[in-house]
Assembly symmetry: C2
Homo-oligomer: 510 residues x 2
């Protein structure tokens, strides 16, 4: 046991590499389940996943890992904050403490509750009957509370949950940022609704050959910088991106003949996630530092490419001619400006995952507020649909016709997952915050995009975001990349400018 | 520790289930590597596989597993030999002892030797230069010897290696059977060579649309009984079948426009393997009893469907009309009899994996003899090519033009694997031995096949072979299914009858 520091570091890395391998194997099993697994494989797959995840958890939370972290914390005290070694020990400590704070019984109960609630949620949603699901939602809220208690918090129970997904963020910080958002966006949404006629997007529904859509989308994301030597595209019911290591980062897509946006923007979105993983340093591979800094930061990469690049005018100046040559019939009579406008149509709608760039965050904000109220007991589960519908009306101006399109729409509440939703809005904000800085650093970015050059943009993201993996918290990362922590101002300015122009809103106001 | 027998059994089963899950996860990782993994994934995949297989090995060879087997052997003494419980303990004991007999250092050295030798073998084969590979082959022979010594044997070192793959078989048993084979087949091969003109197989090379071939083959194997709710077909460079559980047993295929046999017969072959796995009892799932009784028994299922069914006259009476409607152009002017004859053309050739039904076993026999001589020191590695070429000439009548098409052709000798080759011939013999019994039990089998009915045949195999998994050794299984242990007589009678007719050989002789 008289091992020196470098031996201990090596020992810790070997244990963590094994844990990584088990999780990555599990990720491949999940990818296969969503893409190619035959129906009969369900039961064996569940057994295999459960074994891999259990072994990975047991090995990670072992006393040996704890002892090594403890000793290395003492011995590595002098290393710079951003060194691989200090970061490894710091981030592993965070993960380790969180994992150890959850009693195994609670972990098992959470898993069980999710499996039991899932089919009930499906039926309740199908039947548009929240009452059916209410008892499971009660349990869900209780378990979220018990997790918050087990992890501990100073101020608000939500802090504990938030810290698991967006380390360093607090409920108070988000409330302040979200209040600013709301103040700016609720009136913008209403204003756009009054000018709805300004954009005609019927071209998107004219029918686009599915195979051609998939191959066109693959060509686009390759052009953006998604490396197919280290990735691939498959089809799945719900698109996702997943990584099994620096050399194998995959995306999936779905395609609809009758709605153009699904395949192309979905593929760009997933390739944004994938390019993040492809850009992580090899030196941090097989450690807890390899991965996205948080779901919010991960989402910033997908939304940046999907919206700030993929729905921009320079992007379509470059791509529209090739798109038109691939789809001459549906695009007949539509010019590049018209197509750019069509893919940017904004309008209040009921379903979060189908929402446009402007309204999307409002869907997130109301979930964040409701989760907090449920957790703190100021809202009863039985009153959730009513509270949902009231907030929806006030933020988006729509009446919710039923719970299927209301409080039952997301799968998230069918398992124990409070604290996840904010990441979607954090991602939008970070994307705009980064883009503002990028435009300062690269004044000719638009001109580059217009000529189909994306390498400098990707290079900037690699250098300032990707390569760091999980070394920094979201706020630390933003401080380093842009000079300040998370802020809503760049995103608000961006949508006001873009949609003010698209909808010819009162120029002075935006 | 005062656990009762049923607790101990449960405890052992849980440990074994975990080991199974790890191996099945590894099998999926290997499947993915051969089908969809992007080139960049190689390194991470090797790490993941190594971790999964190491953990699986460590858990299986733990003292706890040994203690439980030992105690259960005492306590389950009264259970019938073929009961699930007695079989579980018996087979687990066999696997456990074999695994524990190999020192971890030797296991590591074997793995390392394989990785190091593989690229050298590839280069040596490419350069047609056995000398380059000779030092690695020396090491290979030495390691095979050390494995044999570690496992132990009474009579011949090869017995120890054979027992790992074909439990219960001895070198002496195989030598007797193979001598009988040789005596019958060497003259048959020579006789066929003299009547080579009797069959014209040029139709097979006329060009068949690859996509249509793949979908036709899938239709055929579905018809045979391969359940696609619990399986699927993908493409890979080398066709294989793999199982991740009773509900997920997959096949891969490859297709050549210019050679018809590859896709259809390859698919039937792999589906034979797959139907075996699909037919194993659910009650033995996630235990060491779930799997093929041996590589030889597994091969018997693939060869039975590929050759004894797929290359039979009743089969083509049923399928030829639909084949002709799918491929009217290349099949123009060829009738069912002509096509049946074409797919059965037999002729001495250099490469084992391309060999026909008659000559195939001779390729195996010569490898078996050479492995024995190398292991026992009566043949030096440097003299291997010469010995190969001499045997080849005497068995198949061909001069081997170079080592690429001679002693360097198989990947097997690039890693430490003596004792594997016999399984291919054992598979052929078992297939014919089973089929002889099936014809006795089901006198109308040919009529069933002619009308495209395969359910009774599959049902017979399920009942007598598939459902038992690894409960019985190959000889035990054959005793139970046919009344006698492995014998060459049915296969010899089958090829003499079939090829005697096809080539119009002297009727009295065959």
């Amino acid at each position: 046991m008289a091992a020196n520091t470098s031996d201990k570091l090596q020992q810790l890395k070997e244990l963590l590499a094994e844990v990584t391998d088990l999780s990555r194997a599990a990720a491949l099993l999940e990818w296969d389940q969503e893409t190619y697994m035959p129906p009969g494989g369900v039961q064996s797959r569940a057994e295999q996943l459960s074994t891999l995840l259990r072994l990975s958890h047991v090995r990670f939370t072992s006393d040996e890992v704890g002892r090594l972290i403890g000793e290395l914390e003492d011995e590595l005290g002098g290393r710079p904050f951003d060194s691989d070694e200090a970061s490894l020990v710091r981030v592993t400590r965070r993960d380790y403490d969180q994992a150890r704070k959850l009693p195994p019984d609670l972990v098992a109960e959470v898993a069980r509750a999710g499996s039991v609630a899932r089919p009930v949620w499906e039926k309740a949603r199908h039947d548009e009957n929240f009452g059916l699901f209410a008892p499971y939602m009660e349990k869900n809220v209780e378990l979220n509370r018990r997790i918050a208690d087990a992890i501990g918090y100073e101020d608000r129970p939500y802090d504990a949950l938030l810290d698991r997904s967006e380390p360093g963020m607090t409920t108070a910080q988000l409330e302040a940022i979200f209040a600013e958002l709301k103040k700016a966006i609720v009136p913008l949404i209403a204003d756009i609704a009054r000018h709805a006629d300004a954009i005609d997007d019927r071209v998107l529904y004219r029918g686009f050959d599915p195979d051609l859509q998939v191959s066109y989308a693959l060509g686009v994301v390759k052009r953006l910088g998604y490396d197919l030597e280290r990735g691939r595209q498959d089809k799945s019911t719900h698109p996702f991106s997943t990584a099994f290591g620096p050399g194998d980062v995959r995306i999936t897509t779905r395609v609809s003949r009758d709605f153009f946006n699904e395949c192309l923007f979905g593929s760009i979105h997933e390739s944004g996630h994938a390019m993040y993983n492809q850009g992580m340093g090899h030196d941090i591979d097989r450690t807890p530092l390899w991965g996205g800094a948080s779901p919010g930061v991960h989402e910033s990469q997908s939304r940046l490419w999907e919206n700030l690049v993929g729905r921009s005018q320079p992007f379509w100046r470059h791509f529209y001619p090739s798109l038109r040559s691939v789809f001459p019939e549906p695009l007949q009579g539509v010019d590049e400006e018209g197509f750019y406008r069509a893919v940017n149509r904004a309008y209040p709608s009921l379903i979060r995952v189908e929402a446009d760039e402007v309204t999307y965050n409002m869907h997130v904000l109301l979930r964040f507020e409701l989760e907090n109220q449920l957790l703190e007991g100021t809202l009863k589960v039985k009153d959730l649909p009513e509270a949902w519908n009231a907030l929806f009306k006030s933020y988006l101006g729509l009446n919710v016709p039923n719970d299927r399109e209301g409080a039952l729409q997301d799968i998230h509440w069918s398992y124990v997952s409070f604290g996840i939703f904010p990441g979607y809005t954090i991602g939008n904000l970070i994307g705009a915050q980064l883009m503002e800085k990028i435009h300062t650093d690269m004044p000719d970015l638009d001109a580059q995009i217009e000529t189909g050059q994306f390498a400098s943009l990707l290079g900037w993201l690699r250098k300032n975001v990707h390569r760091h993996g999980r070394k920094f918290t979201p706020n630390e990362l933003m401080e380093r990349a842009t000079g300040q922590p998370l802020t809503a101002a760049p995103w608000i300015a961006y949508v006001q400018r873009k949609f003010g122009a698209l909808y010819a809103l009162h120029a002075g106001r935006y």
